[in-house]
Every structure is written in structure tokens, then in C-alpha cells.
């Protein structure tokens, strides 16, 4: 294979001309000049140029979600985006331009995510992509986002490695934004802020930090290691346990031996066996932190009440009017899909709405216009007011974490006395619906 032809185009040249030329050159390198004529099949998608909204009948929104038919996180991404589009379309679209949502299943696997992303760009010709759950999938498609030059708004992955790339190579990676959740560094800060505010009321002297070993938790661990002790609580034990852990017995034995009053968590993938074993074994310590499965509104019944008295951080819940639109959205969603969304639903809904806001404002759906539009945007959605850090910030294009903008809630599962349970908000205080309850077996 003659590869010398291909290397003549530097990777960082990113004007319109070079993209199509690069295509032609690589094709020629591979097939020989004779085949060239048949290969210039697709024209440039023109993301760099101005692309007036008024010329479009439809805008195509690509959505990447894991197993949207049986994973609530994936379903919320897909349905949140769809609901936003449906509501916009029902309202005459964006000055007559309709939004069309195309959902692809990442299966939570980096490689599948990459394949599906390629399909969205190649076959579906999308104007923007939204979604992605888990940092690993996001990191796997970052280079392809740079290559496609199609704006992408992350709504379910927290790793700051993505924003670091935007910061370091802005021109290449500027198409990436994160509407939520707040990045993993801020998730860690949020855990510290919660404990700082509530420690006296809850009354823990010491905690055991249990963090699952995935990409998203690395900054969380860093922040907790650095700052948790400043809140005045004793950190009796810190463990990053391996991905895919099923048996928490040995870990819980250690927690008990450490004498900690509570396990302070960062769990997403491994959360369910952890909470079921904690509850069924009636372990003598309390259970709080970031526990993604526990954010699911139907979780209480799914685990037969095992999550009772567990506390998790959450972006928004049907119980808390974080903004004026939070509860109406949750109700609309419930009406349309028969269940309440998880956090990714709120964020994806906001992301699509903010995108729509930006393009109808500028009237331009070209990549550059959308990027600068989002950079300048301040949009109040269901989880708070979405603004993005600038290109020179270490968290470039991540949603800002601030008490006035996006400030997650903490909620506790409390039994309702009728065999089921409710997600009661315990923090921040202005949204609180109940006081913290200690598990009865402690």
C-alpha cells in the first residue's frame, strides 16, 4: 500500500478544502488513480461554512445511548432528546425547521459507540450529536468528533479528560461540549460540599470511601483524597475496588473493621449489587454518595426496597423544583413514556433545547457557528442554568458547577410506609423535602 501520498496532508489543516482533498488523496493512495473517479462519492458536509437554518426543512440530531430499550439511563437519553424535539416541532419547529432525532445503541461499549457514531455521521448526516453514557465511550469517539467536525453535546459522561483535550488542542476538539453531568472533578467537589454542609446534622465522625475503579471516578478520588478531611470528618478507609466487582462481602467486612460510620461512595456500574448486599446484610454503617442506579425513580421496587435509607447525589428529581421547568418536564416525560427519567433524561432534554436555542438565535447550523453560539449561551433548563467554561479554562466546554448555575441535589430513599419508597431531597436546604433518616438497624 502506497502510504506516502496520504501523509502529505498535515492532520491539523482543517479548512473545508483539505477535508475533501484528504478524502480524495487517501482514496487515491489506496486504489490507484484509475479508481479515483468512482470514489468521490460524498460531498463535504460543510460544517465549517455558514449553513443557514432557513435553508433547512429538518435538522438531524444524532443520539448515542446505551441499550435504549432496557437500560433506564439509555432510555432517558433517547427519550429526553426525543421529547425536546417533539415539543419544539409541535411548536412550529425552529421557524419552520423540524428536528429529527436518530437514536443509536452504544451497548455501553467503546468500540460499538465508535461504530454507531460513524453511522450517524456517515449515513444519517446528522447536524449535531447528543448523549453518550460512560466516559470510556466518550473518550473512544473524541478523535472522531474532531474528525467529523460535527458539534457534540455529552449528556452522560463525566471524565474531564475530554475537556482537557478541548483546552489543549482547541481547534481540533472544540466541537465537544458537556451539558452534564458536572465533570468528575466537580462531582468530587460536590461530594465534599455536601458533607461540609450536612456533617453536623447527620452526625458522622468517620467515613469509608468506596470508589469503583472506572475512568470517571479517578478525578473524584483525587478530590476526595485532597479535600474530604478538610470537612472535619475522619477518613477511616479509602478503597478503589476493581471494575465488575460482584461480591462486596470482603469490602464491607473491611469497612466494619475500620469502624466507619458511613460508606461514602462513587458508584455507577457496580452500584446495584453493592446496595442490595448492604441492605440484605444489614451492615452497620450508613450509605451515601454518588450512586447512579439509586437515582432511578423506579429503583425502590426494582431492588425490593434494598435502597431504603441510601443517599445519592442527583442532577434533578421529580420531587425538586430545581428550576421552573424541572417538574413539568418530569411529568411530561412520565406521560409520554410511562416512567420518570433519570438524570441523563433531564440533561439530554436541556442539551437539545439549548442547541435549538443557539441555532435559532444565530440562524446558522454550521459547526463553527454552533460552537461559538454554545460558548456564549446561558440557557436555563431543567437542571439549572447551563453555561460553559471558556477555551482557556482547564475544563473547557464543560458545564459550569456553581451554586447559582448547576448545583446538584442529594436525595435519600425513604420508605413510604406502604411497601414502597420515595426519593426525598435532603440537600440543598432550599429544595429539601425531608430530613435525613438513619437506617433503623444502626
Amino acid at each position: 500500500m502506497p502510504d506516502n501520498d496520504i501523509d502529505v496532508v498535515p492532520d491539523d489543516v482543517d479548512d473545508e478544502w483539505s477535508l475533501s482533498r484528504r478524502k480524495a488523496v487517501s482514496a487515491a493512495g489506496a486504489m490507484g488513480a484509475a479508481a479515483l473517479a468512482g470514489c468521490s462519492d460524498s460531498t463535504d458536509d460543510g460544517s465549517e461554512a455558514s449553513d443557514p437554518l432557513a435553508d433547512r426543512d429538518t435538522l438531524r440530531v444524532g443520539v448515542l445511548a446505551p441499550l435504549p430499550s432496557n437500560n433506564p439511563i439509555g432510555a432517558s437519553i433517547a427519550n429526553g432528546a426525543k421529547l425536546a424535539a417533539d415539543q419544539i416541532n409541535a411548536n412550529d419547529g425552529l421557524d419552520g425547521t423540524e428536528l429529527e432525532v436518530i437514536v443509536k445503541d452504544t451497548e455501553e461499549a467503546p468500540q460499538t459507540g465508535r461504530t454507531r457514531y460513524g453511522e450517524l455521521i456517515r449515513d444519517e448526516n446528522v447536524d449535531v450529536t447528543v448523549g453518550v453514557f460512560t466516559s470510556e465511550v466518550l473518550l473512544a469517539i473524541m478523535d472522531d468528533i474532531a474528525g467529523s467536525k460535527v458539534p457534540h453535546i455529552t449528556t452522560g459522561a463525566a471524565t474531564p479528560e475530554a475537556s482537557a483535550k478541548v483546552n489543549e488542542e482547541y481547534d481540533t476538539y472544540k466541537y465537544h461540549f458537556r451539558a452534564g453531568p458536572i465533570n468528575a472533578h466537580h462531582l468530587g467537589e460536590n461530594l465534599v460540599d455536601f458533607l461540609d454542609a450536612k456533617i453536623d446534622e447527620i452526625g458522622w465522625d468517620s467515613v469509608a470511601v468506596l470508589v469503583e475503579d472506572y475512568a470517571w471516578t479517578e478525578p473524584v478520588s483525587e478530590v476526595l483524597n485532597d479535600q474530604l478531611a478538610d470537612t472535619g470528618v475522619e477518613v477511616a478507609m479509602t478503597q478503589r475496588y476493581p471494575a465488575g466487582t460482584e461480591d462486596f462481602n470482603p469490602i464491607y467486612n473491611e469497612v466494619e473493621n475500620s469502624g466507619a460510620d458511613a460508606a461514602y461512595l462513587a458508584m455507577a456500574h457496580t452500584g446495584t449489587p453493592a446496595v442490595i448486599q448492604w441492605a440484605q446484610q444489614q451492615r452497620p454503617f450508613e450509605f451515601a454518595g454518588i450512586h447512579v442506579p439509586m437515582q432511578l425513580p423506579s429503583y425502590y421496587d426494582a431492588v425490593n426496597g434494598a435502597c431504603a435509607y441510601g443517599v445519592t447525589q442527583n442532577s434533578a428529581t421529580p420531587q425538586a423544583a430545581v428550576t421552573d421547568t424541572t417538574v413539568p418536564f418530569a411529568d411530561d416525560y412520565n406521560e409520554a413514556y410511562g416512567s420518570y427519567p433519570v438524570y441523563t433524561g433531564y440533561i439530554s432534554y436541556d442539551a437539545v433545547n439549548q442547541y435549538a436555542d443557539v441555532v435559532s438565535e444565530s440562524g446558522d447550523v454550521g459547526g463553527n457557528a454552533v460552537v461559538s453560539g454554545l460558548e456564549d449561551s446561558s440557557y436555563t433548563g431543567t437542571v439549572g442554568t447551563l453555561e460553559y467554561y471558556g477555551r482557556d479554562d482547564e475544563f473547557a466546554h464543560d458545564v459550569k458547577y456553581d451554586e447559582e448555575l448547576v448545583w446538584p441535589v442529594f436525595q435519600q430513599w425513604q420508605p413510604d410506609g406502604e411497601g414502597s419508597g420515595t426519593q426525598e431531597v435532603i440537600f440543598p436546604d432550599d429544595l429539601a423535602t425531608a430530613d435525613y433518616q438513619t437506617p433503623p438497624w444502626i
Binding site: A30, A35, N70, A109, P110, Q111, T134, E136, D213
Partner: protein
């Protein structure tokens, strides 16, 4: 064995002369030629799918050379893909070594892994060997999880440099030829190895190792050779795929239980012990899976679209096919092809055993006739 019975007389060059090749080989060459011009005819997405399919063809062929020929069934061939892929990816990520240089290192280490697993495995027979190979990828996965600071656990490594600096979007056709070139290269190498005397020895080992030993050959040597060759080729495929958009260095791409089973399924469905069959099986496996992924029809009882349960449907189809065509698609097709040809001549007495002299004669006669009809370009 369905492989050609013409071993013995004639030099290599004579055997490779297209004029003298039997019909099925000529069809095969025609197929390869067709695959070479395919990117001009089909959509870019299909080009991408096919690129992945060629890698799977190579995976299955690499499995076939050890398991199909020596009968040493490997349930963990993914280990070799993973050693090749991770080696190349880590060298590239950690030291910035160009894929063109890191891939060969991956191949060498994969070959070494073949030696490490192959030599001790010689002590074991049948299910015991299979157990070792079944467990090897599990151990490697545990190591990847334990040292997730290096290997990034179950999620694997991403951000590896693409081969030749190609781009995901715009480079699809070039990546197609990378994969296709790899496929043809491996096919040629393995056909050369298995269709020469070494292949006959390997087959004999599967049938009766003691006889082989009695004839003065050392079966162990041949088995190890097959293991190392197979591992090197698997490692090559793994090392190349991580530098293309078709795969990344992760257990999911390279060595989960699903990957290992699919490789076996591909080789068996295509036709074990034929190389060509395994290659075809690997390609068909991916095409079938992608087809299923595109079906939106909802399955009644489960209440989910086929696209969401494509692997389940695939597993069920596989179970059925294993029952219906235990010899594999290619073998079945060849036999069926012969039957059709035979029926044309009115000699229904020819059995389907695929190797008897009368069958051969009839078959040759018809290939000659077909050659006269279609093969004008050969002259």
C-alpha cells in the same frame, strides 16, 4: 477433509496456475477480485462493515490453522489477538512508536504467547487443553483489571494512532484495503502452509497422532509450529485492528468470551479445517450480525426489536446451523455444487462423500465444460 486431493505431484507454480485450478478455486479467485473492486459499488457504511468482516475472517483462519488442522480446540484465541493489539497500542500510546513499527512487535509477542500456551498444552488432550485455553483470556482480563492503570481494565485503551495517519471519516476506503490486504495475505500464507506437506501432517495429527509419530515425524513439533503460526497471525490481526476504526485495544474487541466463541462459530460455520471456510465464515458472521442489527421488527414474546437482541438471535441461528450443517457452509456448498453438477450428467450414483474417484472425474469433466463456457479470459 475437503481439501484438495491433488497433493503430491507438481510444483507450487503449477498448482497455482489459474488455468489448472479446480472450479471452486477459480470461483474463489473471482470472489477475491470482486471484493477488491467492491468499494466502488457499495455504500461507505458497507465498506466499513466489510473492513471489520475481513478482520474476523483473519481471526477465524488463525483459529482454524491450529484447531481445525491439529484438532487442538482453542477456546481462547482472543488471547493472541489481545497480546498483539495491546502490545502495539501500548507501544504507540506510551512511546509514540509508529504503528508500522509497533505492529511487528505485537506479532512477535503474540507468537511468544503461542509458544507459552502451546508447549505446556501439549501435555494435555481433548477437553483439558480446551480448559487451559478457555481460562487463558480470563486470566489476562483479570490482569488487565488488576493493572487498570496500565491496561485501563475492561474498557481498554483508546486514542491510539491510526495506521498510516488515515482519518476515520474520509479514510474508509483506505482502511478497507488495509483489512482486505491483510485478509488476502493471511489467506495466501495459510493456504501455502496447509496445502503443502505440513498441512497433511497437521491433519494426520488430528486423525491419529500415534501414527504420525510412528512414521518418524514428531507431532509435538508440528503442533507447536501450528500454535505459533496461529498465534502470530491472530496477533497480527489484533495489532492491525487497534489502529483502524474497526477496533480498539479492549477485551470487548479482542478477547471476551463472546469474541472467542464467535471465532469458533465462524470457523465451524464456514468449515473447520479448510482455511477458506474459516475465512468465509468470519466474513459472513459479521455481515449476518450487522444485518440483524438493522432489523426493527419486534419479537412478540420478548417485546423487543430484533436489532436490540441481535446477538441472541444470532446465537439461536448458530445453534440451528450447527445442527443442519455440521461440516460448514463452504463444505456444504461444495458438496451441493457437486451434486448439481453431477445431476446434470445423469450420474446420480455419485455419492456425496466428496472425494471418491468417480465423483472427482465427473466433477473435473464439468469444470472443464464450465471453463470452456465462462473461462474465455483465461486464454
Amino acid at each position: 477433509m475437503s481439501n484438495d486431493n491433488t497433493t503430491g505431484g507438481g510444483g507450487l507454480a503449477r498448482r497455482l496456475n489459474p488455468l489448472r485450478l479446480p472450479l471452486r478455486h477459480r470461483l474463489g479467485l473471482l470472489g477475491l477480485a470482486g471484493m477488491a473492486v467492491l468499494p466502488r459499488l457499495v455504500s461507505t457504511s458497507f465498506v466499513v462493515t466489510l473492513s471489520l468482516a475481513y478482520f474476523w475472517g483473519v481471526y477465524a483462519m488463525s483459529w482454524d490453522v491450529v484447531s481445525g488442522y491439529t484438532g487442538q480446540i482453542s477456546f481462547g484465541h482472543g488471547v493472541f489477538f489481545a497480546v498483539g493489539g495491546y502490545t502495539s497500542a501500548l507501544l504507540n500510546l506510551g512511546y509514540g512508536i509508529d504503528p508500522v513499527l509497533s505492529i511487528p512487535v505485537g506479532v512477535v509477542l503474540a507468537a511468544a504467547a503461542g509458544l507459552i500456551i502451546g508447549v505446556p498444552a501439549l501435555r494435555l488432550r481433548g477437553p483439558y487443553l480446551s480448559l487451559v485455553t478457555l481460562v487463558a483470556p480470563l486470566i489476562l482480563t483479570q490482569v488487565f483489571i488488576f493493572r487498570s492503570d496500565v491496561f485501563n481494565g475492561e474498557q481498554g485503551l483508546s486514542g491510539v494512532s491510526p495506521l498510516f495517519g488515515l482519518q476515520t471519516f474520509g479514510g474508509e476506503v483506505a482502511f478497507y484495503y488495509v483489512a482486505f490486504g491483510l485478509f488476502v495475505f493471511v489467506l495466501a500464507v495459510l493456504l501455502l502452509v496447509t496445502r503443502t506437506d505440513a498441512g497433511a501432517v497437521l491433519t494426520a495429527i488430528r486423525e491419529d497422532p500415534d501414527t504420525v509419530a510412528a512414521s518418524g515425524l514428531n507431532p509435538s513439533k508440528f503442533k507447536i509450529m501450528a500454535f505459533v503460526l496461529s498465534a502470530a497471525i491472530g496477533g497480527l490481526a489484533g495489532a492491525v485492528i487497534v489502529h483502524t476504526p474497526s477496533g480498539n485495544a479492549s477485551p470487548t474487541t479482542l478477547m471476551t468470551i463472546t469474541v472467542n466463541v464467535e471465532v469458533i462459530i465462524a470457523a465451524i460455520l464456514g468449515g473447520m479445517g479448510t482455511i477458506v471456510g474459516a475465512g468465509v465464515g468470519g466474513i459472513l458472521l459479521i455481515l449476518l450480525r450487522e444485518q440483524l442489527a438493522g432489523i426493527a421488527w419486534t419479537v412478540p414474546v420478548i417485546g423487543q426489536p430484533v436489532s436490540d437482541i441481535n446477538f441472541l438471535v444470532f446465537a439461536l441461528i448458530t445453534l440451528v446451523l450447527l445442527f443442519v450443517m455440521p461440516g460448514g457452509i463452504v463444505r456444504t456448498a461444495i458438496i451441493a455444487g457437486r451434486r448439481v453438477l453431477d445431476r446434470g450428467s445423469g450420474e446420480d450414483t455419485v455419492a456425496t462423500d466428496g472425494g471418491t474417484a468417480p465423483a472427482r472425474r465427473v466433477y473435473e469433466r464439468y469444470t472443464d465444460r464450465l471453463r470452456a463456457a465462462f473461462g474465455g479470459d483465461d486464454r
